[in-house]
Symmetry: C2
Subunit: 158 residues, 2 copies
């Protein structure tokens, strides 16, 4: 028997599935990443990402619908728009940073990785980790996922 557990995949996955349904598309995450670097205008997203116009239109619309970006009129008569990150969108910073660090660590290339630094001190940011209540790093096997019930159904993570 494989070590299946008592929680269904649907129950297990819900937050991850819900998150992916909003930002799980490859292009969507790259658009968010561009927005974090300061890109705001349609043509700048298009140029920076080399993305087809129709795909960019669709993904921007989805990100606005998901309230990850908001569309702001900045020109006369509403004929120019900018796309700005919402607080929900800015909160993806940690997800994208974790993904960037994973890519730097595990998907090798000839180029040295970009350095992420604290703007004020100039010192590198730490690798993102899952921490316990005392701030000590937790590995996968040290964490369990539970229903918030009276009787916790602990899930062995192997």
């Amino acid at each position: 028997m494989s070590p299946r557990n008592d929680l269904s995949a649907q129950e297990q996955c819900c937050a991850i599935t819900r998150a992916l349904s909003q930002i799980g598309d490859w292009w969507s995450l790259l658009i968010v990443r561009e927005a974090m670097q300061g890109t705001r205008r349609f043509t700048d997203f298009q140029q920076a990402l080399g993305i087809a116009r129709n795909i960019l239109v669709d993904r921007l619309r989805r990100l606005v619908d998901a309230e990850v970006l908001r569309k702001v009129d900045v020109g006369e008569q509403g004929r120019r728009h900018e796309y700005r990150l919402t607080e929900k969108g800015r909160d993806l910073f940690v997800v994208l940073t974790a993904l960037r660090q994973w890519g730097d660590k595990w998907v090798l290339t000839d180029q040295p990785p970009l350095a992420m630094r604290d703007r004020q001190s100039g010192r590198p940011v730490r690798p993102v980790e899952v921490l316990d209540a005392d701030g000590q790093p937790l590995r996968l096997h040290q964490v369990m996922v539970e229903h918030p019930d009276d009787i916790p159904q602990s899930v062995p993570v192997r």
Copy 2:
């Protein structure tokens, strides 16, 4: 002018793009998440995720090619296999945890979120954050991305 910066999207994105090219597919991340919960066999992935057989075959093959999973013979004459996380795969724990927490915070549902706890102490894990060298949380605007060159090209992150 929009606040574009000096690094091209290709340079900026490289680690994120590379990471996404290996695990950026919706199903691939859910397969990794299932594997983290202990699922190892083809039929168990299929049942847990409700995923079409041909898609599961393809995504498992890609994850094995990317060395996120490894395929292990466990039966006689190699007729039974299991898919186990590699160290590279286990290292996605922080990415999936950040994604789960983002989903719990921002994509609301009727169900209460699952609790992630330190198996030993039973206490909840902290929200994943980007930390500076002293362990203090950093927000998006406090971080810059640089080329590892002699003359750093600082990138304003807005």
